[in-house]
Amino acid sequence: MEKTVSIAGRSFTHTDIVRFWVIASLAISCIFITSISLAKHVETIYAQLFYFPILYATYFYPRKGLFLSGACAVAYEILAYIYVFPDIGGMLYTTGQAILFVLVAAVVMYFTEKVNLSEARYRSIFENSLLGIVLFDQNSFSVQLSNTRLLKMLGYDTDEFAKMSFADLFYSREEQRKFFELLGSSQDITSFETRFATKGRAPFYVNLSWSRLNGNIVSCSVIDINQRKIAEMAAEENSYQYKQVTESSPTSIIILREGKIVYLNPAFRKFSGFTEEELLGSELAGIVHSDDLKAFPDTSGSFDAKPLPVVEEFRFRTKSGDIRLGALFFTRIVRRGEPAVLINLVDITEREHLKERIKQDNERRRGIISTVAHELRTPLQPIMGYLNLLTEDPKAYGVTDETRAILDRCAKSVDRERQIINQMLELSVLDAGKIPLRYTRFTISDLIRGIVDAGGYVTKAELAIDIPQEVVFDADEGKLSIVIDSMLSNAVNYSKPPRKIRISYSTRPGDAYHRLAIQDNGIGITEAQLDEIFEPFQLPDSASISRKYDRIGLSLSIAKKYIQMHGGYISVDSVVNLGSTFTIHIPKQRPAEAPE
């Protein structure tokens, strides 16, 4: 940018000032020379001298030049008046000269302005063009001229770009080679898609067109197609991925338009057994099993239409006549500007078969358990009966006290066997989820007193019962009774005299649970055993302990299930050799769906 000087509020460049100086000197010289030649009556008047300042000024400053020509004309005419008057011929001649000054200046101004305008127009087109424009030498590939648009595209500044070779603009050797080939064909090229490299060596998609100017200069226009190309490639990628997803999906995908199939993927062909030709344009409802047709939704209409079910199961009749079950997910979509319905169909035929088989297996298993229980219990009856008979009236059968003690132990074992069979059956039924809870409201302290009396726990341990009389539970009294009884029984079985058992109740305002703790001073349970004791057939350290104490086997598994059925849980705190606390947590509110 040239330096400027501010004079009287207007700014002038140094060039302007120099030009002004030259023009002013020339103009004054002309006036001086003309006045001498007129005064000395030199035959020749050098009026042509005035054209130097006039042309010079008009070329650079067209309008100001015109004013200057006017000023020169006036000055020339005044001189003529002083020296030539009253020679009419001389006056006419000088007046003609003065008018000519103005005319010449006007003509020059006209053309200068025209040239300036056309150059400005060209420059504006060149610089503001949406195309990148570059002129290069077809032999040396040196860049002769380029517009800012192109520089901006590639991220160069003017100086950097001027040093570059056009051939270096290409992103890869391959693209450069192709360009050389096309350039060598010596034809003008329109629309050659290739990639340039940006300053940061990133690929940049462009569309080139070129034509030869005079000599070796080639004018090349560069269209920025980078965004479009990237978008195109992304769309292509998307469409490819979409196709892959739908075509390889194990889920059937169907699009319905007014109930008719307009798209289906291979999975649905496989599911239905029909070909694409047979299905396209036909109604999906046409292959739905007639019994399920009533429930099949109306898929016509747009988003405002009746809402479609999210997922529903329908049976289909396949081409081979088989019945297959599908879970259908419905979604309203817009396809090519039209309302349509997208259906994802999952083949659940096998799953249903499997479910049925599992159900049958479970039923068979329960049947076996039931039969086994019957067969195991039946022979126990004579054993138990005769043992009872002998111990009931020992004298009648000649049973001594010692023999009686042995027989009592036998009876105890038989009774345990009976209990194990009962628990096994109970667990089998609980697994089937067949047992409903019978909710009632009852006073927990009364229930516990009943259990303690029936189990004779007062004689087995020192009992401390700390339960407020007014606490009322809403639960299955029978099941809770079994749970508490088995906990008390465990507390007795897994401890040595002097046994101490404490039963206590706790809750807090806002607490959703009744919490009933049964604490013993028994052998305790290790951390590792805690997870196992609620699993069927797990016993604390079964190898050694079971020899010392009676086994419990399944009672905790059953207890856990009963409490879970209530929506509660059992927690255990235990210190080995100090004792355990089992806490039953039972919701105060029965579940909303629970029966009376």
Binding site: H374, E375, R377, L380, Q381, P382, M384, G385, N388, L425
Partner: protein
């Protein structure tokens, strides 16, 4: 006159045991191993209580029960289901029969005594 107790049971060892136990309790046992024959005995002997096994052939305990309940002369006889079959409670609850109770095998002597006495005292 002591009460007659009919035992319908196809398992011979249990039948022999029941003979002893019922005598021990001071009642008169009538032991029959076959449901069809037992039906004749019910009308002939008019037992005070029937101890009824379930898993029997050619007619099972439930069928036997249905037949004696269908007969006006035997309808009121108390029946104790005496069986090793699981989940008897459900089935019995369904029948809603006030003169029907359960003794699950294997039963203790004391429980048998209590079960029979409860029915007879009514």
């Amino acid at each position: 006159m002591s009460h007659k107790i009919l035992v319908v049971e196809d398992d011979q060892p249990i039948l022999e045991l029941m003979d002893l136990l019922i005598r021990k309790l001071g009642y008169e046992p009538v032991l029959i191993a076959n449901g069809v024959e037992a039906l004749e005995s019910v009308t002939a002997d008019h037992p005070s209580v029937i101890l009824l096994d379930i898993m029997m052939a050619p007619i099972n305990g439930w069928e036997f029960l249905e037949r004696i309940r269908a007969n006006p002369s035997t309808r009121e006889i108390p029946v104790i289901i005496f069986s090793a079959t699981p989940q008897l409670e459900e089935k019995v609850a369904e029948l809603n029969d006030p003169k029907l109770s359960i003794l699950q095998k294997p039963v203790k002597f004391t429980d048998l005594k209590a079960g029979i006495e409860r029915v007879i005292s009514k």
